[in-house]
Structures are given as C-alpha cells and as structure tokens.
C-alpha cells in the first residue's frame, strides 16, 4: 500500500515541482529523492506483513512478492533516473511533468503487482498505458514521436477493448471480479470463461509485446524519445509481465483450463521468440534492435507465465531485474551517442573504453552469458519451463533463439571492439561513468551471487 501511496504522492509532488522549481537539475534531484523515499517506504512495509499478505477491500493484496517486485521496479527506475535523468531535459519543457508521469506509471505498476480484482487489473493497465501514450509523444515537434504516440494510443485502446471483453466474459462465467474467487481451475471448462481467458491473454500479450500483438513495439520504441524508450522497454514491460503472471497463476491455474491457455501461450511464445530474434538480426539502428530484443526477451519471460510453478515466479522477478538493469544501462550509453546505428558504435572501445566495457557486460547479460545476471534469469525461466514437463519443444526453440540473439547483441560488441571509427559522444561526466560502473557491477554481482536476490523471494 505504501508503494502505491508514495508513488502517487510523488507524482503529485513532481507536478507541483514544475511550478515552484525553476532549475531543471533540481527537479531531477527532487525526483530521485522522492523515489528513494518511496523505495524505503515500500521496503518498510515488508516488516509489517512479514507473514502472509494483507488484502485491502478485496481489491489489492500486498505480499512479500509484490513488495519485492516493487522494489525491483523502483530500483530499476532509480538507476534509470540516475543514469538518464538528465536526458529528460532534452525532450521538452515539461520536465517535472515527465517525472510525474513516470511516477504515475510506477503507481500503476505497484497496482499490477498487487491487484486482486479484475477491476484493479484494468485500472492498473490503464494507469500504466495512458502516461505512456503521452511520454511517447512528448517530443512534440518530432513527427516520429507524434507517430509513435498515435500508433501506440490507437492500438493500446483497441487492446483495452479486448481486455475488457475478456474480463466481462470471465465475469459472466463466474459472477465475481476477485481473482482469488474465480475458481476457474475447478470443474468443467465454461466456454465463456475460456473465451474470456483467451481474450485476456491477447490483451496482456499486447501489453508485453508478444507476437502477433507486438507490432506497436518497434515503432513506438523507435519513435519515442530515447530516454522514455528506456523506461518503457524495461520497468513498464516488467510491470506488464507481473500482471500477466499474477492473473494467470493465481486465477487461471489448475485443472483442464490451464492446459487450454498453456497451449495457446506456447504458440504465442514460440512465435514471439522467433519473430523477435529474427527481426532483430537485420536492424541498422541499435535503438530499434533493442526494441526487437525486448520482444525476444518477452518471449523468454512468457515461458515463466506458461510454467505454473515456483521457479517461474522467482524467475520472472530475476528476469525483470536483470533485463531492466542491463537495458537501462545500454540505453544510458545509447543516449550519449549521436548516432544510434550500429556504425555509431564503431571504435567506441578505443575512445571510451569504460563505456564499451560496461556495454559489453550489459549485452552479455541480455544474451544470457554466465556470470551476468541475465544468465540466471534465463536459467530460471528455462528451468521453470522444463519443470512444466510438456514444454520441452518450446525450451529448445527458446535456446536456439537465444543463440540467434547472440548474433545481434554481438554486432554491437563487434562494432565497439573490432571496427574502426570515431564515435561522437555527448559529454561523459565522471559521475555518469561511476554510475555506469555501478550498474555493471550490479549485473555482475547478481550474476555471480544470484542468491542475494533469491533469498528475498
């Protein structure tokens, strides 16, 4: 509950900060401070619900799990603020409003991690989505940004319609919105419920950009201001997944019904993995490549959604953390570059060795190479899928796609280390370098001792 309250309050504070604080630097610091407080408040709640969970009016249920996920999301956002916060200023005038929107999105994410009513799920998704439409279009003069915003908005509201139809059908079958009382796992499968679940799966697939509902992703990520892409592709996507896994694992697990949607989601996962990885291979822009990579990574996270076991829930948190941190890191470097194409990275290892090394670590993590956080993230979702038993074919598809993913991640490494060039970079401060190294260190530490995070779950 703290998380929700504090994020919302922080958002309000940021709204007003724009009125009273003229110095944009200071706005950033206020945002960081607010986030730190939120982070602390969130963790403080951990002690109060040490045993079990707390439910508020049957609408939201706060548990260790949700708090931990919030902590991951806040932590990632904090890194995002620290590394790329100053890039907010370059987007437009309404710096404080952008921060406010980010905080509102965060409150949506806290809802996504703790909802226990379908109504709250709907609200959470809308609270996450609406500010994103705006952030995507925040570079108002830029036609690309306009286009991204409109595309995102149109498709997003279309998917909202599908989501709502799904919820309605589920309500029709069960008569309740409370996900703990749906009881769909028991007894015969009602066509209404099944239809509803499938539509819900489609809508959520849209939010996490799973194929064939992924089409918005590359365009929106590409067109949005890079700094917001960074946030959208990481923390927000993780929020989508937490909602996804929450509803499917709590409400739809068990019985015949899960076999139905597991089959469906396996197909979606396979297509997502293949489309995401294949399309990423031929991109010219690193930013767009990262958009496709986010689709590909979504395919991996979907494995955790399909697999109904303990490993999956652990895996999704670890994956969210690992993926977010690494991607935020890469975007932070990308923002500093003048040229977003692969060629823009040529020779970076010579001019900015530190940037190159940290980027390499982030890319390793995304590719799932051991001793980076990404490896254990992949390990967990794969293990979850293997444990599920009948998903081995999907696991094989996934690992082969992971091998393909090396192809485009390593293109960046090849450009940085093995090609000649003089990449143009914005001014790189010592503080930025320090933070970048810190981020890389987190990736490595989580990769060597994933137990640090796992013991919390």
């Amino acid at each position: 509950m703290n998380a929700l309250i504090f994020t919302a309050l922080s958002g309000v504070v940021m709204m007003f900060a724009g009125l009273f604080v003229r110095n944009k630097q200071h706005i950033k610091f206020i945002a960081i401070a607010a986030l730190l407080i939120t982070f602390g408040a969130n963790l403080a709640e951990l002690s109060t619900i040490a045993a079990g969970s707390r439910t508020v009016y049957g609408m939201i249920t706060i548990s260790n799990f949700s708090i931990l996920f919030n902590a991951v999301a806040f932590g990632a956002t904090l890194l995002f603020f620290l590394l790329s916060g100053s890039a907010f200023e370059k987007v437009g005038e309404h710096v404080s409003d952008y921060f406010a929107l980010v905080f509102f999105i965060l409150s949506g994410i806290t809802l996504a991690s703790s909802f226990s009513s379908l109504l709250m799920l709907f609200l959470a998704i809308e609270i996450i989505s609406i500010p994103q439409y705006i952030l995507a279009g925040s570079d108002k003069k830029n036609p690309k940004s306009n286009e991204a915003s409109l595309k995102y908005f149109l498709m997003g509201s279309f998917s909202t319609g599908i989501l709502l139809m799904g919820i309605t059908l589920i309500y029709g079958a069960t008569g309740t919105f409370n996900i703990n009382e749906l009881g769909l796992g028991e007894g015969e499968v009602s066509p209404l419920a099944l239809c509803g679940i499938i539509l819900l799966a489609f809508a959520l697939s849209f939010k996490v950009s799973a194929a064939p509902f992924h089409f918005w992703t590359p365009d929106v990520y590409d067109g949005s201001p890079t700094v917001f892409t960074s946030f959208m592709a990481t923390v927000v996507k993780a929020g989508g997944f937490i909602a996804f896994i929450r509803i499917f694992h709590i409400a739809f697990a068990g019985g015949v019904i899960s076999e139905h949607w597991q089959l469906l989601l396996s197909v979606i996962t396979a297509v997502t993995l293949i489309i995401g990885n294949f399309t990423a291979v031929f991109q010219q822009s690193v930013k767009r490549m990262l958009a496709y990579s986010s689709i590909a990574q979504a395919g991996f996270m979907l494995l955790a959604v399909i697999a109904l076991n303990d490993l999956a829930t652990k895996g999704i948190i670890l994956y969210a953390a690992a993926y977010s941190v690494a991607t935020i890191g890469i975007f932070a470097v990308l923002i500093k570059l003048k040229d977003y194409t692969f060629d823009g990275f040529n020779g970076l290892a010579r001019t900015q060795p530190l940037l190159a090394v940290t980027t390499t670590i982030f890319l390793f993590s995304l590719a799932g190479i051991p001793l980076t956080a990404g490896f254990f993230a992949k390990y967990f979702v794969l293990a979850a899928a293997v444990q599920q038993g009948n998903l081995l074919w999907l696991v094989i598809v996934a690992v082969l796609c992971a091998a393909i993913s090396v192809y485009y991640y390593f293109r960046v490494i090849i450009a940085m280390y093995f090609k000649q060039g003089e990449p143009q970079t914005a001014e790189i401060t010592g503080g930025f370098k320090f933070l970048l190294v810190l981020t890389a260190a987190i990736v490595i530490i989580l990769g060597v001792f994933p137990g640090l995070l796992l013991q919390l779950i």
Binding site: P370, F375, A383, V386, I396, V399, L400, F410, F418, G451
Partner: protein, 478 residues
C-alpha cells in the same frame, strides 16, 4: 585449497594484467603461469598422498542447490597439468613477440586459463556450465582482436555455434537437475541414476551436441579449420591443445557417468560419426595447402579417434583417451609453435611457399620431424601409447570400426609426411633461405615438448597410473 588456487591464480593475474603497461603483462603472465604450474605439481603430489584434500565444496547458491564444488581426480589432474604446462610454454614462446595492447592480450589469455582450469575441476554441473562458457569468451575476444583478415565473421561463427551447443546442454543440465533426488547440481546427485532410459536417450543428444561441437566431431566441425586459421597462433594453441579437450572431458565427466543408458543406446551412432570424421578429415588434410588448416584437419581426425574411443567405453579405450588428452595437447601445441615460428619469420603459411627450411634451420626441422612423428603415433613417442590403447579398446568394441578408424593411421602418415616434406625438405626458395634457426626461448620450449614426447613414449607408466583411478570410476558407473 590448491584446486581453488589453480583457478584463482590465472583469474586474479588476468584481471590485474589489464591494468599493466609496457612489459608488465608478459612478465606477469609468465609469473602466473609458472605459479600455476608449481601449484599443479604441488597438487600432483598431494593427489598421491591425500587426494581427498583436493576436493572443496563451498556454498554458492543455496537456493538452487548449486555449490562451488571443485576437485581433482586423475583425469582432471592431468588436464590441469596440460593446461598449466601449455600456458607456460605458450608464454615462453611468445615472450619476445610484441602484441598491440598486450595487457588485454595477456589478460584475456590468463582469463581463458582460469576458465579452462575451472571446467576441468568443477564437480558441480552449474559451476561446470559457468566455466564452460567463461572459457569461451576470452578466446572469442582474443581471436577477434588479434586474428587474421577474416577473423570477425569466422570467430563469430565459432562463438555462436559453440554457444548454441552449450545452451542445448544447459537444457539437459536443467532437466537432470530437476529430476535429481535432492535438487542439487552436485556430481553425486547427477550420477545418482535417477533418469529413466527414455529421457536419457534424448538427453544424450543435448549433451552430445555441446560436446560434439566443441571437440569437434564430424559434421559439427566446420567452425574449426577457419577458426584455427584465423586465430593468432598462441590462441590456436589454446584452442586446439586444451579447449577441444573440454568436449572430450565433458563426455567423460558429464555424459558417460550421468547418462550411461543414453550413451549405451547411441554409442554406435557417436562412434560412426567420429570414425567418419577421422577418415573424412584425414582426406581433406591431404589436399590442404595451408599449414594451419592442415593441422586443423589433422586435429579433427585425432579428436575423432578419441571420441570414438570414449564411446567404445571400455577400460583400454578410456585409458587410451585419457593419456591421449594430454599427449595430443602437448604434440599439437608443439606443431603450432613451429607454425608460429615459421609465420613469425617468413609471414607465410601456404605450404607451397615453404620448403628447404631444413638447410637453414636444422634444429627446427628436427623438432618438426619429431613432433610430427609423435603426432602420427610412432612407437616410443607419447602419441603411440594413447593410440594403441584407444585402437585396442575400439577393437574390442567392434573390430570393423577399428579397422576403418585405422585407415586414419595410414592417412595421417600421408598428410603429415607431406607437410613435413613441403615445409622443411626440398629445395629452398628466396624466402625460406632467410629462415633463421630457433632462438633460446623457442629452443627451450620445443626441447621441453620433445622431452615430454620421448619420456612419456618410453615410460608412460606414471601417466597411466595417474588416470587409472578415473577409468575405474567411469566403468563402475557404466
């Protein structure tokens, strides 16, 4: 404790090396490799007196049941010894070379040593996998940064190929882990035999894919000649001397004991592939005109024999393989050193551009002849012992397999002698007439190699004793 030290020395030295300048890296590299060798020898003594003191298990990821569990048995001991010796030899032989960004070069070399040692000592499947990948990364960078013209696509192919194989193995590891009685990655629970025969039959291929690509076994080998050709020669030495042993080691440590029924089911298929590889690679070696590619194909043929012998899975064949792991490593590194020297002197590696070197560099010629002979398994060289036992074991498994594999012996003579003739015999040309003979450090390294070749060829008993404990283990489980 010594086992951990074996990994730590190159790891720490490697990391430190990145920060050094001037001749610091090469000096530190040399010191670290001497220290590694010393520790290895120390471990060897401890292995004789108190082998259990070389085992160490520390908690790593308790939530997963993954431990930092390392240890040395005869096989691991021998491969660690090979690693330590090889790196020392490599560092000595390249001591007077000046590599651009030498701190990175030596740093990456040492890191790869740490990774390799880790692979050979890991007694925990997760740890094994981590080291397995870790050994690959530095090599990838070494090849891509200091390699030949086509290095980038070639090493990239190598990386993706082996990475894909490793991932398949990871799936297998996960499956076995989930089936293990105590949800642990430890060697003991992996070999507890909790996998049913049906699962073993497909798990076999997941593991085999990873190992076969690494070895490499026909038809998974096509990355190898290109990579050997394009890599800087010191890295090629690491690749062909030690790294390919990872695959063979993997089969013996993580395939046969873990999936005995699967191995039993598919051993014929694996052996047939291996044997096809022997004949096939030997034939191709005959018509190679590139020095490095020729040795690369010869290596495929040799590895093919080893992998066939492993899957024959009897006492003699396994003992032969274990011996050969070491000996092949030493011999092939010897060959590469000569390649390196010739390339350093003459900047060519096409066999048709060479010839007549024996007149100008008689010492080098002699070393080349001896090492080549060891490479084709002439009696009283180290190559013979392993080949004899492997063939003998393979013969027991199936005489026809052995007879076909034996063709490799003949073909090996053909291409090896061709190579020797084209490189050192015949009339010299303008270029080769400028060849200078071995320098001190090169002389030292090659002498060490030749001493090992002869000593182990005449008196292989210590080596056989060292590995006999391991083969007992493999057979017991089987």
């Amino acid at each position: 404790m010594l086992t951990v030290l074996l990994i730590l020395i190159p790891l720490v030295a490697g990391l430190v090396t990145f920060g050094l300048k001037g001749s610091g890296p090469k000096t530190l590299g040399l010191i670290a490799s001497v220290a590694s060798l010393a520790v290895t020898v120390g471990a060897l003594f401890q292995f004789r007196t108190a082998p259990e003191s070389l085992q160490l298990t520390a908690s790593w990821i308790p939530q997963l049941g993954a431990n930092f569990s390392v240890g040395l048995d005869g096989m691991g001991m021998m491969l660690c010894l090979l690693t330590a010796i090889s790196f020392l030899l490599i560092f000595i032989v390249i001591y007077n070379r000046n590599y651009e960004r030498s701190n990175c070069f030596y740093g990456l070399m040492l890191l790869s040593q740490a990774g390799l040692t880790g692979v050979f000592t890991a007694y925990d499947a997760m740890l094994f996998y981590v080291f397995w990948e870790l050994a690959l990364i530095p090599v990838y960078f070494l090849c891509s940064l200091w390699g030949g013209e086509k290095r980038i696509p070639v090493t990239f192919k190598f990386f993706v190929y082996t990475f894909a194989g490793s991932l398949l193995m990871l799936v297998g590891i996960i499956y076995i882990y989930l089936q293990s009685p105590d949800k642990s990655f430890s060697y003991a629970s992996f070999t507890a035999g909790s996998i049913d025969a049906h699962a073993q039959s497909w798990l076999f291929w997941l593991f085999f894919a990873a190992f076969a690509i690494k070895m490499p076994v026909f038809p998974f080998h096509t990355w190898q000649p290109d990579t050997y050709e394009q890599s800087p020669t010191p890295v090629t030495m690491v690749l062909s001397g030690i790294m390919v042993k990872m695959g063979l080691f993997g089969v013996m440590r993580w395939l046969l004991p873990v999936l005995p029924k699967g191995a039993d089911m598919w051993s014929d298929a694996a052996i047939v592939l291996s044997i096809i590889g022997i004949v096939y690679a030997s034939c191709i070696a005959i018509v190679q005109s590139d020095f490095k590619r020729l040795i690369a194909y010869s290596s495929i043929a040799h590895i093919g024999l080893m992998s066939a012998a492993i899957f024959a899975n009897n006492e003699q064949s396994l003992q032969g393989v274990l011996i050969q792991l070491f000996n092949h490593g030493i011999n092939i590194i010897g060959l590469w050193i000569i390649v390196e020297i010739i390339q350093d002197r003459l900047k060519v590696k096409n066999l048709n551009d060479l010839g007549g070197i024996a007149q100008y560099a008689p010492r080098m010629a002699i070393f080349l002849v001896i090492i080549s002979l060891a490479n084709i398994g002439l009696p009283l060289t180290n190559g013979f012992i392993g080949e004899f036992l492997m063939f003998s074991g393979l013969f027991q498994f199936n005489p026809w397999f052995m007879a076909v594999a034996g063709l490799g012996v003949i073909l090996a003579a053909v291409y090896t002698l061709n190579m020797v003739q084209k490189v050192i015999f015949g009339e010299s040309n303008q270029l080769t007439a400028t060849t200078t003979d071995l320098k001190g450090n090169e002389m030292l390294v090659l002498s060490i190699i030749v001493v090992i070749i002869i000593a182990l060829g005449v008196y292989p008993k210590p080596m056989l004793d060292l590995v006999s404990s391991t083969t007992e283990l493999v057979n017991k489980v089987y």
